[in-house]
Symmetry: C2
DNA sequence: CACTGATCGTCAGTAAGACTGATGATTAGG
DNA sequence: CCTAATCATCAGTCTTACTGACGATCAGTG
């Protein structure tokens, strides 16, 4: 067995993420959304309405990617687009009632999936890993 | 600022990995390989020669993906393919002298990139994160 | 007011990465 | 032998996310 210290961080991240995706994907599947879409719903919930650009920046994804995401979510009736009252270049994107329902159920499903994912760790380790990852992600 | 505890693990993994890739990619670029190719060189070094299937399983990547990887590495003169003496269905893949050089320099470059990546953490945290990630990746 | 530069959303095209399914060559077991 | 399994390969596909261009709109300047 290869000692832990010899495994590359890239390998560890890739496969940890793969395992997490294997838990979250199926958990959301009955709701008809994927993890990326749920992330969009989450940021929209934080401060609604929001421009697509704002939402994209909050998630650090590309503006053109957000177009497709909002297209999909709008098609599923989870969000609505309307012209922004203050600036007609912008879309005011907001959650629909159905979108809020899916966000609530989806968040619970992700919470549970993360719980299973983190089961190999102790309470202290879970807290530390989350904190450390946050700092590593921010740089 | 969003509190740490509210950020999804999926988000944290994605962006931590993105930052790591931003360090390792440029570090390997002068050597003419990417991180995935260096990973293949690493497993080949552990036990050479190796069939493509073995190498693929060691890295948990698809057999068809490995074909393209070995194609690329062979094209760069870093590995060689020859018929396996014991089983002519297999390729015996092994590092060339040049491949060993690139592996050595690439490993050093990755070590340094990981050091920079982990700089936001304390010594204890670095050790714990690596250990925890290993368990999370394995399930 | 007219003009310039920037911003927002959109779309077409593209590229990377990794998969599925089929195929030919080879091996192992009965 | 014959059948089933294994290995490498290839073509095709799918996902994800990007670049670059566009029209519409806004803000600031003179």
């Amino acid at each position: 067995m290869t000692p832990v210290s010899r495994r590359r961080l890239g390998y560890l991240f890739k496969h940890a993420q793969s395992r997490l995706a294997g838990l979250t994907g199926p958990a959301l599947e009955p709701l008809g959304v994927d993890t990326r879409e749920l992330a969009v719903l989450t940021v929209l919930d934080a401060r609604t309405p929001m421009s697509q650009q704002q939402a994209a920046q909050a998630l650090r994804i590309d503006r053109t990617t957000m177009v497709a995401m909002v297209d999909a979510l709008e098609g599923k009736g989870l969000v609505s687009r309307r012209p922004h009252p203050d600036d007609r270049r912008k879309n005011a994107v907001e959650l629909t009632a159905h979108g809020r329902d899916v966000l609530r159920d989806g968040s619970a499903a992700i919470d549970e999936a993360e719980r299973v994912f983190l089961a190999p760790l102790s309470e202290d380790e879970r807290r530390l890993v989350r904190d450390a990852l946050d700092r590593l992600a921010s740089g």
